[in-house]
Every structure is written in structure tokens, then in C-alpha cells.
Subunit: 336 residues, 4 copies
Amino acid sequence: MTDLLHPADHANPAAIKRLAVLTSGGDAPGMNAAIRAVVRTATHHDIEIVGVRRGFSGLHRGDMRIIGPRDVANTIQRGGTILLTARSHTWRTPEGRAKGAANLREWGVDGLIVIGGDGSFHGGYFLQEEHGVPVIGIPGTIDNDLYGTDHTIGYFTAVETALDAVDKLRDTGASHERIFVIEVMGRHAGHIALEVAVAGGAEEVFIPEDPKPVDGVVQIVKDSVAKGKASSIIIVAEGYPGGATGVSDAIEKGTGLETRVSILGHIQRGGSPVSSDRVLASRLGEAAVYALMDGKKGVMVGRENGQIVHTPLHETWEKSKDVSRDLYRCAKMLSV
Amino acid sequence: MTDLLHPADHANPAAIKRLAVLTSGGDAPGMNAAIRAVVRTATHHDIEIVGVRRGFSGLHRGDMRIIGPRDVANTIQRGGTILLTARSHTWRTPEGRAKGAANLREWGVDGLIVIGGDGSFHGGYFLQEEHGVPVIGIPGTIDNDLYGTDHTIGYFTAVETALDAVDKLRDTGASHERIFVIEVMGRHAGHIALEVAVAGGAEEVFIPEDPKPVDGVVQIVKDSVAKGKASSIIIVAEGYPGGATGVSDAIEKGTGLETRVSILGHIQRGGSPVSSDRVLASRLGEAAVYALMDGKKGVMVGRENGQIVHTPLHETWEKSKDVSRDLYRCAKMLSV
Amino acid sequence: MTDLLHPADHANPAAIKRLAVLTSGGDAPGMNAAIRAVVRTATHHDIEIVGVRRGFSGLHRGDMRIIGPRDVANTIQRGGTILLTARSHTWRTPEGRAKGAANLREWGVDGLIVIGGDGSFHGGYFLQEEHGVPVIGIPGTIDNDLYGTDHTIGYFTAVETALDAVDKLRDTGASHERIFVIEVMGRHAGHIALEVAVAGGAEEVFIPEDPKPVDGVVQIVKDSVAKGKASSIIIVAEGYPGGATGVSDAIEKGTGLETRVSILGHIQRGGSPVSSDRVLASRLGEAAVYALMDGKKGVMVGRENGQIVHTPLHETWEKSKDVSRDLYRCAKMLSV
Amino acid sequence: MTDLLHPADHANPAAIKRLAVLTSGGDAPGMNAAIRAVVRTATHHDIEIVGVRRGFSGLHRGDMRIIGPRDVANTIQRGGTILLTARSHTWRTPEGRAKGAANLREWGVDGLIVIGGDGSFHGGYFLQEEHGVPVIGIPGTIDNDLYGTDHTIGYFTAVETALDAVDKLRDTGASHERIFVIEVMGRHAGHIALEVAVAGGAEEVFIPEDPKPVDGVVQIVKDSVAKGKASSIIIVAEGYPGGATGVSDAIEKGTGLETRVSILGHIQRGGSPVSSDRVLASRLGEAAVYALMDGKKGVMVGRENGQIVHTPLHETWEKSKDVSRDLYRCAKMLSV
């Protein structure tokens, strides 16, 4: 077991000397843990890290500085991102990207690590295609909607935050015998909704992957009341057509019962990351540096079945990640 | 210090044998702690407790049963109310209240303890006026809008829940450099909003007690940006005219900056009560039983400056409780 | 995607009519979610569930009753186990087990589901060997030390609880520039310690799987101080020889620096389960019922790489589950 | 209500230009909120603040720098203290204090604000007595053991942290039917223990203010078991003779029942401060600056019955603050 202490030999065949890292798009809990892992893995292999502030916008403007191991001390537990994030309109133009590439050359950077979602990966993909900068993506988004990784950084924390809200609403729902319709985030995907529905013991869940007609809702709620369930928790993914408001309206119209809509919104993006997100971020931050040292480029590092995998950036948004059928079945059956 | 062990002598001059307790109106964290204190204080003085389910609705329908010390075991940490709560339309009619009074007589009840807000106290007040049932109120509402007590049961927990959301939004607001407009509960009062604003370090707070024109907002946000504050947290009490949406619209129109609105809603009613609510509920539950034993009636028990006080029920809604000027000043000055 | 609604056909070839379920050994967060899933999956397939209280002790004494879907309502979020758990001395005798088997026959039970750790699985294993009762195990223990499943129910919550303590100690450690030595649970295994070390950004971790000599500690702490780290968090698994106290003594003797020992203990067993534990418990509770319907016996249901797997009960304690080398390397490298 | 916007006129008759602030002794959640309030109140009145790092140790060594409103941004929710804290041996000598006073003169400081407990106030008291530096104390300690304020900064958070642990232990205690003996902090005082006992629904509480003989414990536990309470939570203040271990030993010896001891320790000092601590810290930070502006010196600012009060520093440790008899009675009676 002593060889546990000896990591796989990473001989840095690509002779990387300096890398840049940025966070882009919506922030997600665990981004700081990923930045920390990038910086410390790099330091361990005598590689310098340039931190780019405010994503591609900062890359374009040259808002960059060297960051070392002490700069990321005491950040693993922090929500948000110490590198800040922003949307960049200039990055959508070839001129904008050319300016960014020039900045990276000026700083002597051998590769760029992009922490974000598919929009951010697009930004990195074009930079590499047009200017040859090796780019590695790290999946950082609460939505868990990227192909090539079982989970994205921030997903677990967002689920926990939404679940905490569901538990609180159940308290008051059970006491007041009310129907709560709760909208959770997830963009076009139902991952968060499904996990929260199973974990929260919700009576019903609506996700964009199964846009069943709203009529069925009414009968479900009526049955629920008939079964003696005085209160109901209904989870709606923000990507489901009509959202929570639509579902709520249909229930009120069909049953005559009063409902309460709760749209959790951006609180799901914040908070100290839960352990699973911190560990995933630590593993992927390490893997991103190793990927560049090994000469890889244009891929996202992900974790599938516990193993690090590399997926071409364009596949992460071209291929789709299904929601779990097992969870969907559980959500239905266990809400009896 | 040994006399600590000897409570004030409560000789039960009113010769109370059996009391009823109910929770009514919106539920609040700590209601269970209050019920538990009522039951155990009564038991300690050989008084039986009848638990009424679903508030005045259950009183009207006779949904009652004896509850003992073991029935309230392991409930002090639970959100919601084990006695359930509901709105009662029949209670607004003299016939409805007559039926409830008859039920209390049938059960041999010497007095009724009502845990709730001003609506609930109205219900109890009319019962006493019309049928002579001694009624004691315990302030159980997150809104803290009752005259006669420094704080109401549930207020501290609601503040903590809202504050947790503000902390999470600050994470993402600081990373994304955004303006968040957060609406908190409180009905017609700004207590929750003010406390959350000070504790959350909000840049601005809008409460119904000071309906200042919305124009000022724009300049405040512009100044904030000028001072180098890239993100802003603005708290709006639900009772402020226009609510969070109105404030948000005004800011967007006046500054051209994008804002995000978050309406926390009913999660503020749920969750395990924080220590301050459990302790307050324990003290007031005890005090309510003592008040009836001492022959008091038609009053709410409250805690002011650490002492138990008794306020006529009608004063609790007729007199108004001011928000704290000190907090308001702090909120302004410390957000520099 | 509509076929998502149709679960795999479970034709119940074993013609199961009634099953029993018990929790045994140390309790773990998520046990209630597992019980709930067992009850509701069974109900969905017209199978009755007998709940046995206080584990094998209750099975021996016949402390059993039918539990239905409503009995498990509002329990998914509760820590502990509504079926209670206990140690049973009588169960270690053939006579004790014969009595338990007789009780199961008397209740017409076709199989037993045991939720617990390896000690509990031993109890079930002998029952099946000696009396032919089909037994299925569900891994419920915070220690994650069972072969045949990536994670055990309760593990994720225990990690989160320990991590929360580490975060709090880091606050005070960073302010006071102190060295904290924190002992976490895990019996003979280092899973919790390792995960908490990575997620908590600990400077050092000691696990039983790598009983490196204590001398190295001293130099590590000296280096840490030299690197400008004024405070240190050191995680020690309870199974590491000498525990936190031993490590602390060695550091104080070798460095002359003051340390603080924190032994978290049983708080790691309690609390509302996190989402990952609730979902795992839901999946495994369902799988346990299906296993019996499919005629399986003497196996533990587990989840590996997202899939349900079945492992002979005796293998769960005979084969050993390694700690993650990847995590161990991360823990070392990222604490630079 | 518009005059809410106009604070009391503070004309700064003492003509304060620059103040210093330090945190000393054990850290407490909310210290950062107090520092923030000091800095921003001062800024609002055109006063500069010098932050002293590591308490009196840093004052002696001259570890000081100007801190402005932006330096305390985003700190109100942080545990620990951004100014760090330490014990100082040199400060106990007249020479050490003379050096500190010289440093303050060199920086042109008109007064010093000390955030800490009685040890820290001693340090400030001697500085003022010997060198004439106006000193104001802010009560920052989780122990709540200072005369002159209803609560100290950090107390509410420590109670909540301990209560969270009690809730978790109750989960497992109730499931396993065990007796837990939990030791909470508080130095020589029982405030935390008492509040946690009432809020946690503990069966028994032992505090130094009532050192009743241990024999009584045995009968209490026996009675509790006889009453059908299978599990017990017993809270012991660290200042009670023998601590949790002593109480546990006595129970085991007298009843033959197994107990589990949990010593919560330093986690009670960490964590994000709860709302009550942040608000108290904000009020007292403001009050400390006003006190100096008004020419006050040698006093601690505190809050009693909602009002700011000033108490001579030496009285804060000479006079004793009693524990609440009401809480003690509640703790007893409600644990029936």
C-alpha cells in the first residue's frame, strides 16, 4: 500500500511550462476547488498558472496574472469563482478571439483550461481551431447537461440546495395540506428535477425529456388526495414547457384546489460546495493539467464510472446525455 | 443556586383540569416546540391537554383528542405543526363558533390556547366574547407583526432561511457581478427584510414602513457601481408597494443594468426551528398554561426584554409594532 | 421517451406474497429511505411488508407488524431508523435464530430484507443457511466498508457531516493559527477519512490502509509551517493505530507546537440524509424487493458504476474493498 | 418615518481622526461582522481605521495597516477573524504594553477597540491605565460570560452548532436507544449548556452554577427509562466538575447502562455566524466607534434589553452574569 504514495509518473512529454485557466458562463459551486486543483497540480509539476479574470471577456482584455498555491488556499469551500465570470460579446467575433490568442502568446501560455458549460466550451473550441491554442474543458455547470461525464461540477450542490427547499416546503405543505409546485434549474435538461424528485419524495415530476400532456396531472393530484395524501410536492424542471406556472395553472383549473408556486432560481448556483462536488472538481482539475502534459487538446475531461475520460469538446454538446430511466421509474413508483 | 430547582409556585387558583390547544393560520417553525411546552407544563401540574387538529376548522368539526407528554416527544426540532393548520370559513359565522364552543364544553375544557397570528387571535377573541371560553394567545407567525412581544415564534428561523439564500446569491452575484433583488416575507411588515438586510450586508432595503419613491434606487445602484461594488444585493419586503418586481423594473429602466429577481416564498415557513425560536416557544408555551392557571383570559403571552408579558388580544392587532430604527440606520450606514 | 414510464416487467416468478424488513447494527442516515422504498415497491407489486422492530432482537421476540405506504410517508428525510435497531446477543445462538425463523413462518413471510453492515449480514446469512429463509442484504452503514457496492447508504451524509466540522475548524484554525487533528469514523476503513481529507483540503490524512510511521508527521508539519501555512488540518481515521490522540502526541513531541484534537464521534451517524444517500437507498430498496421476486437469495444488492449488482452475502465481508488510490494521491498533491 | 433615515447626530466632540481595532483571545463567529461595522461606521464619519493583526501580539510587534470599506466587503458571513488572533505573553509585561502604546502613538491612533473576552479586556484595561490610550471593548466570545451585555458575539452561533449536533445525536440515540452525554463549551459558565438543553429537549443538564451531586443523575436516568424514554440526551457544560466524562462514568456505574460521550470542542467556535450574531456585531461595532467619538473610554459596549449600554471594563469580569433561572426551570419541567 506504500505505492499509494507514488502517483502515476507524469513525465510532461509536451514540455508544458505555463498554462492559463478561466471560468466562464454561469458560475457553479466547486469552480474554486477546480481552480485550486489546477494550480496545485501544476505547481507540483513545476508548471506556472496564469489566472484569467472574467472568462473570455478578460482573456480578450488581457485581465490576467500569475496565481500560486497560496492564492488558492482556503478557497476549496467557497461558492462562486475567485476568477469571476462574465459573458463576452466580443468573443463571438473572430477579431475578439484573435486578440485573446495574442494575449495568451504574449504571456507565453502553452495551453488553456476552460471551466464552464457548453457555451464556454464553444468559446474554447473556436480558439483552438482558429489559433492552435491547446484547450482542455472542465465541466463546471449545475445543469449536468454535458455528454462525456456522469456528473458536472456544481450539480450535487444544486441538487442539495433544491432538496433543502423541498424539505422546508414539505414541512409547511404537510401542516397546511397544500399543493406545492416547485421549479428547479437545469436549462433544457431534467437531471436536477429528477434527482430532487426522488430524494425529496415528490408526488410528481415534470421534465423536458418527457413532455407528457398536462391533463394527466389533474387525475394524479385527485388520486393523491383520494389516497389520503393531503399535501403534494410537484417538481418541475425549468425546461418543461410552461414551467411551474403552467403546471400550477392546469392543476388549479382541473381540480379546483389551491396551489403554491415556488421558483427557486439562482440560490441553486451558490453556497459552499458539497463534498461530492469538491472531490469531483479536485479530480478533474488534476486531470486537466495531466491531459495537457500528455499532449491532449480539444477535449473535455470527465469522470465516468469513477474513471477519468476524455471527450472531444464538440461531442460534449453534439451528443446528448439521457436522464436516468431508473430514477424516473423510482420517482413514479415510490410516490405511491 | 439550589432554589433554581424550585419554580415559582403555581397553585392553580383557577382549578384548571383540562385545556385545549390548536395551531391556526400560516404555520411557523417552533409551533411544535410551543405545543410540546404546553403539554408538558400542563402534565407537570396535573392538567390534561386536548389537541385540536386543523385549527378552528377542527374545533368546529370536533377533530380533537387527548395528547400526553410522549405524544410530543421528539417534536421540538420539527418544522410545521403536528396539530395541522387550516383556514376556516365556518368560523367566521356565529353558528360556526357556537358549534366549536359546544365541542369544547362537551370535552370539559376549561380554556383554549391559540397558537398563531392576528387572524387566529381574532378567532379566539370572538369565541371568548361570545361564549365565555377563556382564551390565551401564543404569537406564532414568521412575520413578527404582533404588538405585545419583541419577537414571534418562527421569526428567527424565517430570517435565517432568508439569510442563507442571500448568502448563496451573494456567492453567485459576486462571481457574476450581478444585481439581485430578493423579496422576503413579512406580510405588511418589514421586520424580516430589515434583519436580513443588516445580517446579509445588503446594499439596500425596501420596507412598507418607509415607502420611499423608487427613483432613489437608481442613483444608489449607480453610486454602488461607482464605488467599485460590482454586485448588489437588494432586499425588498413583500409588503413594499410593487414588491421585488417593481424595484427590479425601476432599476433596469434607470440604469440599463440587468437584474435578477428572487422571490423566496414559502420556504421561509419551513425547516427545523433555530434555537431562539425553540427557546421562545418553550417559554411562551409554559407561560400560556400558567396564565390560565392564574385565571387570566383574553390575553396574548409575549416576551419583552426577556420577561413574560400579557397583552389583551385586541391590542395585539390594534396597536402597531414599529420596525427598529437602529437596524434601519445600520442597514444604511454599513452598506457603504 | 414515453417508455420511461414503463418499468422493467417484474412478473414475480417467485410468487412472493409477504416480506419482512429490519434494520440492524449501527444506524445510518438513509435507512428510512430504504425502508420506504422497500414498502412502496412491494405495495406496487401487491406484496405485503412486515416491519420488524429493533433488528434481530425484535425478530427473536416477535416484535413485528404490517407496515403500509402511509406508514412511511414523510420519512425519506429523517435520520435514524423508524424500525429502530439494537444489538442481539440471543441471535448468536442457534436457539435464538430458530425462534426468529419460527416467528417469520408464523407471519407467513416469504423472505427477509436486512438493512445494515457486515455484522447484520452475518445474522441474515446464518438464518438462511440454517432455516432456508431467503435473505437479501441492503448495505446500510456510514463506513462504506462492504465489498459489492461502490457506496453504502449513509456514507455520503457522514462525509458531509464530518466535512462541515472540518470547515468550521478551519475557520478557527485559520484565525488562531492552530493545528487541528480530527478523528473521523469508518471502523477499520479509511474511506470517510480520505474523502473528507480531499474535500476539506486537509494538510495530511492517516488511514489504516497505509499505516505509515508517525515520525513522518513531524517533518510534514514543519514543512507546512515553513511554506507559510500557519494552520493545519490533519484527518485521522478511527482505525489508524493510535487514532487522533496518537498522531497529536507525536506532533506535539516532535514540533513543540500545540495541537487540538477533535473526535467527531456519533454525530456522523445522524442528520437528515443528503440527496445521494436518499437516492441510493431508494434504488437499493427497490432492487431488494425485485431480487426476492426474481428468486434470488443470500445476496446483497449494491450499486457499482451506476448499475445494480448482486453479491453473495459472505463475499461482502470476505473480500475487501480498497480505498481509492486516486483520492489518496489527490489528498497528498493538492495539500501542497 | 422619513426621519428613520437620519441617524442620531454624532458630532464627534472628541475629534477622533484615527482608531485602531484588534481581535484577541479565542475567535468567535461574528468578529468579522464587528470589524466590518467598526470600519464602515468610522468611514461614514471620516475616521480612519488601523487594523492590528494577531491581537496584542501584533500591537506589540507593530503588525498594523490601514483598512477601508472595501477590505471588509464580503466578510460579514465569514467565520473566524480576518485580523487573526493570538495569545501574547509579552503583553503581560509592562515593557510589552509600553511598546504597544508607542506603536499606537506612532500611527497617530486616538483610541483602540478591542474585540474579545475578559482576558482581552484586561489587556486593553492595562493599556489605558498605564498609557492613557482610550480603549473600548466589544464582547466577542462564544461563552456569553461577560457582565454588561445580554449576549456576547458568537454565542448564538455556538448554541446553534451545538444544537445541530444534539439533533443529530438524537436521531441515532432514538434509533439505537442509547444515552448520550454531550459536553458543550462555555468555560466557567453554563449559558450555552442551558440554552442547548432547552432547545434540544435534553433530559438533563449539568452546569457549573449548580454543582449538584452526581448521585441524582442515576435516579433521573432510571426514572427516564421507567417513563418509557428509551434514549436520553444529557448536556454537560465544560465547566461542570468532572465534565461529560465524569457524568458518564457515574451513570454507567449507577445504572449499568451503556453511555456515549461526545465532546463537541472547537467546532463550536467556527462556522458562518447566524443572523443574531451578525446583527449584534453590527450594532456593537457601530456603538464602539460612537463611544469613542463621544469621549468615552475604559468601557465595554453591550446590548441589554435591546438598548446599547456602557459598562466599565473591570466590571465586566468583576461582576458575574447569572444564568437564566427561567431557562433552568424550563429545562427541568419540559423534559418530563
